[in-house]
Amino acid sequence: MKNEVAYFGVFTALALIFSYVETLIPISFGIPGVKLGLANLIVVIALYKIALKEAYLLSVVRVLLAGFLFGNYFSIIYSLAGALLSLTVMAVLKKAGGFSIIGVSIAGGVFHNIGQLFVAMLVVETFRVAYYVPVLLTAGLLTGCVIGILSREMLRRLAHWRAEG
């Protein structure tokens, strides 16, 4: 029990640090709103390493903290929608079986963007933002792939580590 709390703290700290590092990296994909989503790396690893319930909690805590620190009211809503939908889809795919970590991560990346798009539709009150769908799907595919490969390499090195401690 004590260990679980400590591990959860470490996961939260890592996710927060990655959110921060993300704001430092001046990578621009030339498209507004498209970014790597480094913090998702921690969420993917959490999905495979800690209980699903805690992964959800981690995701929410991460978004709230990062939002209050680096973002604004809107960015929190966007991120929360994206993060929750993304984690849900990833959990479903993982449970369904037959998908590799990369596949799960790709689905996560894509649905992260779709979740944000839904919020954008509600906020702007128009379906016109739908023109952004191809861009967001492709971006989610690519970033999800990168995050998936990174997660795989990290999980490979953490193969013997268990949070239950």
């Binding site: 709103g33 973002g71 809107f74 590799s100 970590i101 990369i102 596949g103 023109y131």
Partner: protein, 134 residues
């Protein structure tokens, strides 16, 4: 402590599986479909410009199709090309409207004071979102 990478035996699948490729194919297919749909059907929603002369709307033109419009019986020439609108000709002496850059984003406008012509982009389509998600 010696750092050793023990032989990898995760119970999860490591390499890309058949289902992964199916997933990737579906995503690319949907993205392509959405692109084509938008390209062929949604073209008319690509934003439009409203032309006003002395405050009265003279016409609304789509930015999606290239066209040349004579405003006010030819006092100003509005050219729409590649989704941007530009005033390319005017009979006024100062040519300020001609020198303004082409417009395409929501709310942008070109104004010719001598002829009382106002050209405004009227669509949320091309406006840039200013909230950045973390």
């Amino acid at each position: 402590m010696k750092l050793e990478l023990k032989k990898f035996h995760l119970k999860e699948k490591i390499d890309l599986q058949k289902k992964d490729w199916v997933l990737i194919s579906i995503i690319i297919f949907v993205a392509g479909l959405a692109f084509l749909l938008h390209h062929f059907i949604g073209g008319k929603g690509a934003g439009c410009v409203t032309v006003k002369v002395e405050g009265e709307i003279q016409g609304v033109y789509s930015l999606a199709e290239d066209q040349v419009i004579e405003i006010n019986d030819g006092t100003n020439i509005l050219e729409i090309r590649n989704g941007t609108a530009d005033v390319t000709g005017a009979d006024c002496p100062d040519k300020l409207c001609v020198n303004q850059k082409a417009i395409s984003k929501n709310g942008e406008s070109i104004i010719c004071l001598p002829n009382k012509v106002v050209v405004t982009v009227d669509s949320s389509e091309n406006s840039e979102f200013d909230a950045v998600a973390q």
